[in-house]
């Protein structure tokens, strides 16, 4: 369980995190979605006690992160897979974690198995790891203390589609056991594939949050008939708002069955009738990313 309440972080005149509030509950995977520079990483670093907040609070399991005893046994974090000593071997990274948290050394081998790093690979220095291998090592490190909460920043970066699927299964299994998972991504389809709940952040503010089904649910009804213009008039007559799409067909703010009735009454044959596309989230997200892209060009 993670509770973030009116969290704000300012750097001089720049507000990285702006009055953000949300809860991440146990038993599900929550995706933290936003373009690069939206404030995801800063918010996660505050949750893990690495960055002090300007105002507001973040608690994990009901208390500030810094007051957790032996926090590695409660919260597993992966904030940057590249943040490992290049001259240390993968196994040694986990060994250090095991000593730190006081967990059995066998756990290291179990975690290496879990993420599929072979003994030979574990004996190699991190400088020779690909980004995907670093992510796997980071996930192994996050899971080392058998935590109740996982906070993962862009864990799917550098993983191929099979890797993303593997991660989804892993995190789902973890959540089903009652774990709390918060993971961030700047890619909508990555989050779509992994998360149950989605929090969308842009320019430091939360712009949407809800279950994936809610956010991805279609809006209205898409309909195409032999005469779209006539159908639009008929819908207008029935006081149903409809817009003609440039690509053909109409987007109607009504249930498909009602649209069908209007068409039948008007005697218009339908070519296509279905729930509208789930364009809301995607469009909102594209808008956010294009904003950021513009700023990058301007800067």
């Amino acid at each position: 369980m993670i509770t973030v309440d009116r969290l704000t972080k300012r750097y001089g005149g720049f507000t990285a995190v702006d009055d953000v509030s949300f809860e991440v509950g146990p038993g599900q995977v929550t995706g933290f979605l936003g373009p690069n520079g939206a404030g995801k990483t800063t918010a996660m670093r505050i949750m893990a006690g690495l960055t002090p907040a300007t105002s507001g609070t973040a608690t994990v399991l009901g208390r500030p992160y810094a007051s957790l005893p032996n926090p590695g046994r409660y919260v597993g974090t992966l904030l940057d897979a590249s943040a490992q000593h290049a001259g240390r071997t993968g196994r040694e990274v986990l060994n250090l974690g095991a000593v730190f948290m006081g967990v059995d050394r066998n756990r290291v081998e179990e975690m290496l198995d879990l993420v599929g790093l072979t003994g030979k690979e574990a004996g190699r220095r991190v400088r020779n790891y690909s980004l995907g291998m670093r992510q796997r090592l980071g996930i192994a490190n996050a899971l080392l203390g058998d935590p109740e909460v996982l906070i993962l920043d862009e864990p799917a970066n550098g993983l191929d589609p099979a890797g993303i699927r593997w991660m989804r299964d892993l995190l789902r299994g973890y959540a089903e056991r009652g774990g709390t998972v918060l993971l961030s991504s700047h890619l909508l389809n990555e989050i779509e594939r992994v998360a149950d709940e989605i929090i969308v952040i842009g320019h430091g503010r939360i712009v949407a949050q809800g279950t994936k089904d809610e956010l991805l649910a279609g809006v209205g009804t898409f309909v195409r008939s032999v005469d779209d213009a006539a159908l639009a008039r008929a819908l207008e007559g029935a006081t149903v708002s409809a817009s003609v799409l440039a690509t053909g067909g109409l987007l109607v703010e009504a249930e498909p069955v009602d649209v069908g009735r209007v068409a039948a009454a008007a005697g218009l044959a339908l070519v296509e009738l279905r729930a509208g596309d789930s364009r809301g989230l995607e469009e909102m997200f594209l808008e956010l990313t294009s904003d950021t892209a513009r700023e990058e060009v301007a800067a």
């Binding site: 690495l50 992160y65 590695g72 940057d80 290049a86 001259g87 730190f100 599929g116 593997w166 991660m167």
Partner: protein
């Protein structure tokens, strides 16, 4: 006609297709297993200081940089001892052998103290370290304690190696034994090693950056020494503030006067205690990125 091409042996796998590049990556498991739980209750007590020191000690030695530093210290000591063993037929008192083993060590070991701190920032391992122990001051003191342990172990080794070399010179070169050494000289040499390490830790915390800490650690006292030899009033200040000068009486084997102790304490305060205190404060407040 000789053939230079190799043909796959029938029935054997073709080496060209089975050989994997050294950096080939093993695939992820086909099925994602659920991580096994750790039996028992979760801890209600924080990470003990002893465990923090254990981790920090290990971190000093488990990287390539750490290992090379140890090898460097070893090589420097060996070189110094070999030179001493042959120059003038090895006819030097034990104190000289001890100096030969301690000096190279005292020069290189502070880098171990610096790296112990700065690598958390330069290698960004602080992201992991400070999430596992958010009370960063404890991590800072664990680094300090681990550095002191390294210093004590290294100094014990320096005494042992110096004794071994002196004994070897007695046995093989037939020199007159010269074992007598003032307790204060030994203590002074040990203190010299430990203060260097402590200063390294302090500078590491102060700068959070390896090159800046190392350059400042080595350049500042030298610059200070040159300046104070040129400017008269600086020379007066140097008697109180130049660590090399205030430590010097320790190696002469005579009891220090009250003023000398005060001078030593002042310089240690400025060069070792102050960087440590300010550095700890910075460590506890810095944003870990």
């Amino acid at each position: 006609m000789s053939t230079t091409t190799t043909h796959p042996v029938p029935g054997m796998p073709d080496p060209s297709t089975t050989a994997r590049s050294p950096h080939a990556e093993s695939p992820l498991p086909a099925v994602a297993a659920t991580p096994p739980p750790i039996p028992g209750e979760r801890p209600t007590r924080g990470v003990s200081f002893g465990r923090l020191v254990h981790v920090e000690l290990r971190k000093m030695l488990d990287t390539r940089a750490g290992r090379w530093l140890v090898i460097g210290v070893g090589a420097a000591i060996a070189t110094a001892l070999v030179i001493l063993f042959f120059v003038d037929g090895g006819q030097h008192p034990f104190g000289s052998y001890l100096q030969a083993t301690t000096m190279p060590m005292a020069i290189i070991l502070p880098v171990v103290g610096i790296l112990a701190v700065t690598s958390e920032w330069s290698q960004r391992t602080g992201l992991v370290t400070f999430t596992m122990e958010p009370r960063r001051i404890r991590v800072g003191w664990a680094k300090f304690a681990a550095s002191m342990l390294v210093g004590i172990a290294a100094f014990a080794l320096a005494i042992g190696l110096a004794a071994l070399a002196h004994q070897a010179a007695i046995t093989f070169q037939g020199i007159t034994p010269g074992w007598s050494i003032g307790g204060l000289v030994v203590a002074g040499a040990g203190l010299y090693v430990l203060l260097g390490l402590a200063q390294g830790v302090g500078f590491g915390m102060l700068f959070k950056n390896t090159p800046a800490a190392i350059v400042t650690y080595f350049a500042l006292p030298t610059a200070w020494g040159i300046l104070s030899s040129l400017v008269t009033w600086l020379d007066t200040a140097a008697r109180w503030l130049n660590l090399d000068r205030t430590m010097n009486p320790l190696f002469l084997g005579k009891a220090l006067t009250g003023e000398q102790w005060a001078q030593l304490a002042t310089s240690v305060g400025v060069w070792v205690v102050l960087p440590l205190v300010v550095g700890m404060w910075r460590l506890s407040r810095a944003e870990v990125k």
